[in-house]
Structures are given as C-alpha cells and as structure tokens.
Symmetry: C2
Subunit: 782 residues, 2 copies
C-alpha cells in the first residue's frame, strides 16, 4: 500500500504541472463548435433523438419522420409507436415528410405537427407504406445524402429528385426544396399526420390560403397532450399556381356547405383529416417558412415576420448556427474526436427541451386553455420532470440560470393555471400528462430557490404544498395517512414512496430557506418516509400492504407492477439521495452498503429479467445497473458517503465509456429531454448533483483533460485534469483556485465563483481521500 501511495504522489506532481497550461479567461466564440455535434447520435433504437433542425430551446423542431405508426389500430395498442417518439428511426428507408414538432429523447411519443412533403408528379393524399412507398407521397432516401448539424438538416428525396435543406428559428421552420430543373412541383401539407397518431387524434383542422404566397391555419389534437393547439403561418418565395385538398374523413352531413366546389382553389379548408397540396410551376428553388404559435394564426404571423422577414434560407441558417455556436461555446473542451462528439452532442441535447412556448410578443396558451400574456419571463414547455429534475435543471442552474428561472416561473404559472394547483409532473404544450411518478417539480423549484436562481416565495410555497397534498393525486392520501404508499393501493408503491420522500425533503429545504418553520418541520418529517417502505431486516426497499405486512413473495428483481416503476429493489433501494447516511445504516452499514453497490454493478442477470423491464436492453446494463433509466443515475456517486469513495471514479468511467457512444446507437436509453446528456456533462466535469435541493455537487472524476465552462453569471470555470485517461481515472488531489479541496463535494457558490478547478489524476485510487466525516457530502442524518 505504501508504494502505491508514493506512486500516486509522484503522478500527482507531474499532473499538477500540466494544470497551469491553460489560462484563457473567455471562450472563443469564433471557434466552430458545430462540427463536433452529431445530431444523428441516438437516432437509432432507444435514444429517441431526432436529426432535424432547430434553434436552441426553440418550439420548432423540423425533422424528417421516417414512418407513420399509429398508437392504436381498432383500439389495439401498437408497440412500434414507441420507436417513433422523435419520428425518426435510423434503420428506416423512407421519409414520410418533414414535421415541425418533435420531442428530444422522450420515452413517450407525441407531436409531429404540420407535416410538409415536396413531391413531383401526381398528387397523393396518403403517406403510403414503408414496404411499398409508391402507394403514397413518401420517398425513399439514403443516409449517404443526409447531413445533420445543429440548426441544419439535408437529404435527397430519391423518388422525386428533390434536395431538401432545413433550418429553423425559435418559432419558424425554414425549408429549401431544390426540384429537378424544369419540372413542376407540389407541396403536400398533411394536417392529419402526427406522431402518436390514431384515427381521431386530429380533432379539427383549418387552413386558409390568404394569398398566393401565404397560408394560415391551425389544428387541435388529442394526442398524448390531451388538447393541443397548433396554429401556423406559412409563406412561400414563389406563387402557388393551383391548390386543393381532400378531407379524408368527410363530415357525415355538410349542411349548405358543398353548394359550390370547395376542394379546388377554394381558399378555406376545414375538417378532421385535411391533406392539401400546393402546386408550383417550375419551382426549382422553393423556399418555405412555417411559423408556429399556440395562440392564434395572428400569433403565428407575428412570429413569422419577427423572425424571418427580409431573410432567405441562407441568411437564416447563418443566424441560427451562430446561435448554436454561441450556446455550444459554453464549453471549450479538449479530448479526442469521439469524446468531443459525445460531449458537444450531449450539450446540444440539453438545449432542445424544455422549449420556448410563447409568441414573440409574450402571448402563450396556459393550462386553463386560455391565452395569457407573459410578463417579465419567457414561458417554456416540455417538462419531463421525472427525468430532468435530476441533472438537467441543476445543469441549467450553473450554465443557464436565467433560462432555468424562466422555466421555474413557467412551472409556477402552470400551477396557477391548472385547476389542480399542482406543479407540472410531465407537461407539454399547456397539458399535464401525469406521466411517471413523484412531484419532482418540487425538486426543480426548490433547487433553483436554494441556489438563488428564483424568488417568488409565496407562489412557490403554495404550489409545493398543493403538489404534495392533493387528495386525488396518486395515493397522496394513503401516503400522508400511512407514511408510505401501500402495495394494495398502487403496484408502483415503493418507487412512489421513495420519490415522494425525496420530494418532501426538497420542499423542506425550500420552506426552511423561506423561513416557514412549521412547514419545514412537517416536510422534514415526511422526508423520512422512505424508511416506511424499507425492510430493515432485509436491508432493501420492499412493497408493503396497508396493514403493514411486507409483500410476499418478493424478489429484489421484481419490477413494474410488483411495487416498482422503471426499476427494481436493487436499483430503487439506493433511492434516498437526501439521506444516504440513513440509507447506509438501513442497508447494514458501510461495508454492506459498499458490497451492495459493488454487486449492483457486476451481478449476472437472468434472461427473464429483461422481459419485465421496459426501456432496458442487455447493452444498457452493467450488472443490474441500468443507466438507460433514470432512477440509477445518482447511484454511482454514492460511494462518496462510504469508506471507498474512489469506486465512484472507477465505475463512472466505465459507465461513460460503455453507454455514450459516437454513433447512431450512441445512447443506451432515451435521452429524456437532455437528462442523459446532462448526466454526461456533469460527470465529464467531475461532479454531480446527487441531491438537488442541496447546494452540493458530489465528486466524481473529470473525463477530459481540459474543459472551460462559461457559467451563467459570465464567469469562467476551468476544469483541468491533465493526463486523465481510462488508466488515469482516479482523483488524487483537487484544488480550486490553488486551494486544496479535501471535501468530496463542491458547493454551488464555490463553483459559481469560477476560476481554476484542478484535478490531479492517477492510475490508482487515492484511498485515503475524503474519509473524514467533515469531508462527506450532505445527508439528512449523520
């Protein structure tokens, strides 16, 4: 052991020298960061990212949809719909068209609004099938013709010889279609296409031909978002010479409507399933701008004019890519090409959702379906909070605090406009989808408040209280009465109880800071509820009945329907981020806790395991550790509370190498609106917010030798880890602005001062580092 330490000191000294190498104080905005990003990463299989064009945090995500999969046919659920959460699967060979809204990396599908397809030849009103593309307007394509960078997508439509180029502003998708020379061309506008489509998703659509270069309209859909209003305004750079439509579901009785022909060159089209065409004579280079709004066609027109007037495709592309470069320049990193691709693509993926959800004049649709005026904030939507409370919103607190403040304000507005008074659970486009579990809006709000990113105490405390006491929200009555959610009332009871307890702790922190001691104490007590579903005799979390009995039979591998949600007892038992000391004790103390963690990462799994677990593939697992599902995300950092903190450093690098890859299958699971990516960015920097709502970032190990990060307050944080490698993965010594940090965490305040964070790395662990009680990260009990 002694020689081992000597070696470490030697190595540390060498590496410390390297630490002085960089001393830039600003990011080089002239540098091109775009080319590091590969939007294709994660577009195959489970990543559920899209390759198309968008502006940072824009509401338009203009991207190819490669197939049309209904979520049900005659009431029977079609599992394949799950593959099309982002509309695109890299394995597909046809493109149906280019629609304007896409989730980034979600585990549930929706959107795909306002599909556009350029065609030549006869008009087709149906998309056709992948196996027989000629039956519809879709086209074959080859990946060889695809180019994707932030804000830009290009492809050649093989069946029509049309070259497609796409870019986008925040509210506007911009298309350039280069048609074969001398040929006529048409644009198909399919208002019944959608992702998570079914016979009836489009409740109503309306389309007006305002003049020969301008369309307006909207559709209302009942998709995953129960009531989604998508207004649009579309301009062309060439005149429409002929147009028409079919309503694929004619109303049964038209009344007097129909007394004159309305299907051809009649400028008003209304119905349930409108598919229209617009014909152009020799279009050659047709440019089309599609502005969206959730409030009105007037809103869409305002967005169109404000963001694109007097600029063509090329100019708008330059503008959007400049915006992306500015956002990507938040990080300046060194590393090999694969590492940079992964890092910058991750950064890119953190800046798509949540998305701006208001018009340029601040009008937006609220949870009450009414139109509101945003005063002094930008309204955002797409809150996949069960995922993103963990690392994405904490990342924003560091890098984009103004945006996160606006997101929190948007969430508080949500709570005010919702009839329930609750913070969002999984919300998008002015709808609450109630997806997943917990009330993690509480975590996001409290974390931002604790870190001084937001104020608004009164609104906040009211929303936190309502979110955690609502009598009809998932088993909150049981939870408050029994201190846990019983299995006989909800078969996801353990996951729910554990997450409620953490959320309660986050509320406790907010109430404490706000000075409401009574409320704080109430939630401090609730934060211990994790114990009520923890079988101390077993040392694991376990479902429990209302009468207190533990569930029988029970296996640590039991998952969905057996007490857990997207996990099992092996994973979920580690879910007490706010009281890791208490958890450690409950598991049997330091040694047993370490043994459990070690086992988690290495245990062999029976093949039956995968049958019962959603979202999990064998490639996504390390032992029973499933990085593709979020409940595991903090686990690797838990060694920091034990006597073997260095094991975090070992397993971290394994996870990063194994589950983030520079290719189409690059993500081991859904990116989940940037949560997977935010985890990666934090971990690459060398720390992670294990317990949002505390001000601590728990130590990991840097992944790259050098990163410079532009913090939200404009200061620069340089993270240096010279010589770091798969070999040199262990942290030997840490200094912040020259001062040694012995603790296993950094505080938010420390980091926000910026400066130089220096990691001395080595190939063997510094096993004596961070063992003192005072060096340990936060835990509710000590």
């Amino acid at each position: 052991m002694k020689n081992y330490y000597k070696l470490l000191i030697l190595v540390s000294g060498l590496l410390a020298f390297g630490c002085a190498d960089h001393n830039q104080t600003s990011i080089d905005n002239e540098k091109d960061y775009l080319h590091y990003v590969d939007p294709i990463i994660g577009t195959n299989g489970m990543g559920h990212t899209f390759p198309g064009a968008c502006a940072p945090f824009g509401i338009v995500q203009l991207s190819p949809d490669t197939d049309t999969v209904p979520h049900n046919i005659d009431g029977k659920y079609q599992p394949r719909v799950y593959e099309y959460c982002a509309g695109y699967q890299h394995k597909d060979s046809t493109i149906v068209g280019f629609s304007h809204t896409h989730f980034s990396g979600t585990g549930h599908s929706d959107l795909g609004d306002i599909l556009v397809m350029p065609i030549t030849g006869p008009v087709k009103y149906h998309p056709g099938t992948q196996t027989d593309p000629d039956t519809g307007y879709r086209s074959r394509f080859s990946h060889d013709t695809e180019k994707a960078t932030p804000g830009y997508y290009e492809v050649m439509l093989q069946d029509y010889g049309v070259k497609v180029q796409l870019t986008a502003t925040e509210h506007v998708g911009i298309h350039r279609y280069t048609f074969p020379e001398g040929q006529d061309g048409s644009i198909i506008l399919d208002l019944q296409h959608g992702i998570y489509n079914y016979d009836g998703k489009t409740l109503w659509a309306n389309l007006r031909v305002e003049n020969d270069t301008l369309l307006t309209g909207y559709r209302i859909t009942n998709g995953w978002a129960r009531t989604n209003y998508t207004y649009f305004a579309i301009s062309f750079n060439q005149p429409i010479t002929d147009y028409g439509y079919r309503d694929l579901q004619q109303p049964k009785y038209n009344g007097m409507w129909g007394k004159f022909a309305v299907n051809h060159n009649f400028p008003e089209m209304t119905g349930r399933k409108i598919v229209a065409y617009f014909h152009f004579d020799h279009p050659e280079r047709l440019e089309m701008k599609v502005a969206l709004s959730a409030t009105s066609t007037e809103g869409a027109l305002r967005n169109l004019h404000a963001e694109t007037d007097h600029r063509d495709f090329d100019q708008l592309l330059v503008e959007t890519q400049a915006k992306w470069n500015h956002e990507l320049a938040i990080v300046d990193a060194e590393g090999n090409d694969d590492q940079k691709a992964m890092l910058y693509t991750s950064l890119y993926h953190t800046m798509i959702n949540p998305s701006v959800y208001m018009d340029v004049d601040g009008q937006y649709r609220g949870l009450d379906h009414n139109v509101h005026q945003a005063k002094d904030f930008t309204n955002y939507t797409v809150f996949s909070l069960w995922d993103t409370y963990r690392a994405l919103h904490p990342l924003f607190n560091l890098l984009q605090p103004q945006r996160n403040a606006d997101m929190v304000t948007s969430m508080l507005k949500h709570s005010e406009q919702s009839v329930h008074g609750l913070l969002p659970v999984w919300s998008h486009n002015a709808n609450e989808n109630w997806c997943m579990i917990g009330y993690h809006g509480a975590s996001v709000v409290s974390d931002a408040y604790v870190k001084d990113v937001v104020r608004q105490e009164n609104t906040m405390l009211k929303a936190l209280e309502r979110s955690s006491t609502c009598p009809y929200y998932v088993n909150l009555v049981d939870y408050q009465r029994l201190g846990y959610v019983p299995f006989d009332r909800n078969n996801g009871c353990v996951s729910i109880t554990l997450e409620y307890a953490y959320d309660d702790w986050a509320i406790y922190q907010a109430a404490l800071k706000a000075g409401d001691e009574v409320m704080a104490e109430r939630y401090r007590q609730r934060a211990s509820n994790w114990r009520n579903t923890f079988d101390m005799s077993l040392g694991f979390a376990r479902p429990r009945y209302s009468d207190g009995r533990w569930k029988e039979p029970f296996s640590l591998f039991d998952t969905e329907g057996e007490g857990f949600v997207e996990g099992n007892s092996w994973v979920y038992s580690f879910y007490v981020p706010h009281d890791v000391n208490g958890l450690m004790e409950a598991m049997g103390g330091d040694a047993q806790f370490i043994r459990n963690l070690d086992t988690l990462f290495v245990m062999p799994l029976p093949p039956e395991f995968f049958e019962n677990t959603e979202d999990v593939t064998e490639e996504g697992l390390m032992g029973c550790y499933n990085h593709g599902n979020e409940p595991a995300h903090h686990i690797v950092y838990l060694y920091n509370w034990t006597s073997q903190p260095y094991k975090t450093q070992y397993w971290l690098r394994e996870i990063m190498n194994r589950f983030y890859k520079n290719n189409i299958d690059g993500l081991c699971g859904n990116d989940d609106c940037g949560q997977m990516s935010a985890w990666y960015l934090f971990s690459a920097m060398g720390f992670y917010p294990v317990c949002p709502g505390s001000d601590q970032y728990v130590l990991g190990a840097p992944y790259l030798p050098y990163m410079k990060v532009r913090l939200g307050n404009g200061k620069m944080l340089e993270i240096k880890a010279p010589g770091v490698s798969d070999e040199n993965r262990y942290v030997q010594r840490v200094t912040l602005n020259g001062e040694e940090i012995t603790k296993l965490y950094f505080t938010h305040e420390q980091l926000m001062h910026g400066g130089e964070l220096c990691f001395e790395m080595g190939s063997t662990p510094n096993v004596s580092r961070g063992l003192a009680t005072e060096d340990k990260p936060y835990s509710m009990t000590h």
Copy 2:
C-alpha cells in the same frame, strides 16, 4: 262612381277628426308592455321560435329543448331535425333540459349549447326518449305549468317535482330550481347535447371544477356553424357536494391519463362526449348562473361577474324585464288583445337575432377564428341575410340605427376577417354557412349607408366589390360573363340571377353616393341583368341555358331544382324590387301586371304543388302567394306602381289577418330571425321598404288605429288611423304633420323627423289616389 267618392269624403272627414285625439310626445316607460308579448306564439310547427328567456339582442337564449333529434343517423338525414330549429315543439310532452343558445325562427337548425337539467334521484347520463322518458334524465311536463314572458320562462318538471324558473342577461342564463323539500338534487350538464346534433358534432369539450360553487369550460362543435367555440362559466348559490362524469365516447387510448380515478370528484373533465352531474344536499332553491363567451373561460368569467355579481335571480329578472319593457316601449299601440299580442310579440321577435357576440370587454371571435378586440362598436352575430335584408335591417334603421350601424360594422369586420373578403351570406358565431342565395349583405350595407346610418366608405366599397365578383362564389363567373346564371350550371338559376341583379342595384346606390362613378355605372348595368332571365314573350322569369335557349319543359309552378329557390316563377317573376316599372313593362304593361298580381293571390293550386315546395303548408298560402317564404314579402306592395294601388291595402289586411295569429301556430312560416315579424311591424305602421337601398317606404295601410313609435333618433312618430278595421281598410288621405302626402311612399328623412302621420281610412278604396307619375315610388326605369 260619383256617389262613391262623396261617401269617401264624408268618411274621411269623420275620421280626420279622430286624428287629433292623441298628442303624447313620449313613450310611457312605466307602462307594462311585457304582458302583451306571448313568446309561445310560433312555437308549434313552422314558426321555429322558442319560448325561453333572453335579454334583448343577448347571446344567451335559455330555453327548454323538448326533444333530441340528430340531423343524421348513420349518414341518413333525419327530416325531423328541421322541426327543432329552436329546440322546442309545442306538441312535445317532455323536456330534455335547458340549453343556452337558440336561433329565433330560422329555417336551419343549430346551437343548443350547454344543456342543463335538474333532477332528483339516481344520475342518468342519457337524455332518454320521448316515448319512454324514464330511460333518461328528461322529464314529462304540462303546458299548464308553463309561463313565458320576455326574459322569463317557468315550468314544472313533472318527473322530479322541480319547479324551473329561467331568466337571462345578455351573456348569462340564470336558473332557479326549486326542488322538493328535504330532497337531494343534482344538475346534469350535458356537453354533447345539441340541436342539429350528430355523432361527432361536439369535437371537444373541457370542464373544470374551479371550486365548490364555480365551474368553467368550453366546447367546440362542428354543427351548422362549422367551427363553433362556446366557453362558459357557471356559478351556484350552494356548494356542490359531489360530482362526476362519463365520457360517452372514451378515447381509444388514454396514454398515462387514467392512472388515478378521474370520473369522480376529479376537477378536470375532457373529451368528446362529456356528461357530468353535480350533486347538492337539500338544494331546495338552487340558483345557477351560466355565462357564455366565444373567446375564453376568462371571458365567460368576466361576463358572469360584470352582469350578475351581487344579484340573485329575482333582481336579475327585474333588470332584464325592465330592459325588455324599455325596448318594447319603442311602440305604444292601440288595438284589441289579439292585435296587441301579435304586434308586441312581433316587436319582441325582432330583438333576439342578430345577437351580441362579444364579451363585456369587447373581445370577440372573428371569422379567422382568432380573438379580436372590438373598438367603438358592438359585434353582432346571426345574420340570416336572405331573410332579414328585406325588412328587419330596414326596421333597425328606423328604430335601432345604432344597433344596425354596429351590425353593419360587424358585417364589414366579417368581410375583413374572412379569407374570402366577402360580406356575410348566412353567418353565425364566427362562421359563414353559405346558406340561401344572393349577396344580400350588399343590400344591408348599402341601405344603412344610403340612410346615413353608417359611413366607412372604403371598407364598404371593397367588401361590396369582392362580394359581387368572387370567382368561386355561386356562379358569379357565369353571371358576370353571361349576365345571368344558366340553368345548366345551377338549378336555382332564376332566383339567383334576380337576386344578384337587385343586390347589384344596391351596390350601384352605394357607389353613387360614395362618388365612385365608374363603379356605380358598372353596377347600374348589372342591375338590369334580371331581364336576361326574363322570357319577354311569356312575361315571366324563366330558367335559361348557357347558350341562351329557354328551359323546356317549363311551368310557372316549377320550384326547387327547376330554376328556383323557395319559390316558383309565379312568385319570383315579381322579384325586381328596384325596377318595378321595367318589370311591369316586361310582364305586358299595367293591366297585365295587375292581372298577374290578382291571380297570384287567388289562383287555385294543384295538391302536387306542396310536394315540391319546402317550408310551405296549405295554411301558409293565399292562392300561390306564400307568405311563409320571404321572396313574396314585397309583392303585395307592388300594386302601388300600377293604376290600382288600393289593392295593396286590400291584400295586406288579408295577409296580416290570415298569417299572423295569437296562438302557438301563430306564424305561417319560419319567423327567420325576425323578418316575418319586421314585415308585420312595417305593415302595421302602414308602409314597407320594398327596395332597401332606396330611401323610400312604400305605402300600405295601417293595421291599428294608433301607434306611437320611438324612432332611433329619439323623435316620436305617431301613426293614426282612427276607425281602421277590416272594413275600413282603405287609405283615403294621408297627412304628415298636417301636410297632405299625395305620394305613395314616405322618405326615410320624412319619417325620421317624427311627428304625426295621419291616415284617413275608409271602407272603399280611394281609387284616384297616387295615380300620377310623380306620386309613384322609385323605379330604376321610368
């Protein structure tokens, strides 16, 4: 003949004495005019009026619906839907519930929004059937328990023992339900009920329980109005103790929605066919206020608060009835009870549609489906213009010019917000229904402009031009090319051509006054187009083919589908209101014209006649004169252009006696938003606007001995016809403010000065009156 004249002079002298009897200068607002009105008139058969409660020109018409008749079942049209244009048929024995929107007297059905039904006992989600009412929530009732006066409706629901009392403000329906003592009660709120309903009319509905006395919500329907947004806010004077709903058409896939029970005491209900109940413990006297808005639930809440805060049912009833009394006091008339019932009920029926279509703060939904802010005008909707251009809007120019100015502004806004740029044809609730023929918005706009009720020249001329040249509007291209609509292109060609020609004349008048001579000349020429569908050899209007040939075979009785719309050549040949002299000549001169008119009123009809004619019953006819359909309305006045003007006076009284009766069948046809009633009011006053767009009112004969009319400018017009009776139906002599009027018309200016209009009546015609050319009313050709 000489003795005859002497007698007349004697009689005239006697009657002239009576003329001095009245000299009131203001209407007595203290007098109760309400009790003259019987809203039950016209509620059986063809009248299509409703008996329920509304405020003058209010958007809420709260009235019982006595059956639910879909307009189609499995795609098959159900003719009975036509009976329920106003939701109520007097012959029915059950009440389904009380819905908040109803047309008054239309020939097409729609609306019936937001149905409320108070019940006791178990909740039922279906309305049940008339033959077996116990299968649903509907109730039996007896007319004995009904009371209806302006602004008030009362009935006892037999099956529940609930006494119902209804009143309304402009935007709010107010219900009082007296439940049996000691019993619990529930309110059914059926968001899928509607008039002109079908499986799918309700595109989407949303309902929120804001607190235990307040609901908000909306529904979007695809009825006759293709896209109709009805938002509401509902308050109760007692707390809801329990509530729930069923969605009678569950979405096929709920997504994550459904993870907790949402059908009971869950405050958000959304779907296609929502039927909800709200339970009250011992409600006894439950008061419920239902505010409507077309813009948002916030708009509905504003309307609710502004119009009803701090007032209960009784206070609001008093306020609304005071408003009605003020409006009804526009006329102070003498006559027998039946005559007064008919007169005041007619007056009442002219003040329901068009209806105010904006929130108290001026926000309204426009034709572009966007929400607009009305600046300096009140937005109105329900424009049944093919009917109402004839007498209703002209009546408003006399009695309610400010309202008519706002209606015209609403129509001009319609043209600006419509993608077509056209004036309304048949529009309601921000939708154009394209019902009936012509572009009679041109008549309404021009008439108001000619009478100095509106200005807005530029907007007006643009709208007039577009309305009359739109290439896709009914055969306008043919009409402009050929000078008539050919039969091979449209089987309503004659009616359409004749009406276009009149509308063109109205545009000519507007252009003339606006000083646009080029436009005026163009439309002056178009105004002669009636000649192109007039077979001069026959002396009647007749369908014609594109190549100029006249239709063969042809009968003067041919109607729908044979060249005519709601009429035949016998009626439509008289439809040249702007060029009666030209028409007279085309028919063969004075004698033949008189013979034709005489024949029209007396000819026997073959029974087959009725089979091919919509809206016509044998009781509604006098010869071939069909007063129930509007094309006939001016005909009786045409004798004024002939050498026998007194025949107008004879037939007028026949028509008034025969077709307007003080009972449930009191109207011989659809009241058509007040057109039938406005005809009656004009005719009762003794003159009629045969040709709106001219400033002349053509002489008829007063129906009552005394009427005092409050003109729109505040002046009073007293119309005296002492001794008038069925016997003394002939006008002998007319004086206006003492000065003799020898002409067969009054000008708008003359009448608007007010004063005393004195008719000397007699039992035999004054055959020598009004024979001079200079006494004849306007005609384009002389």
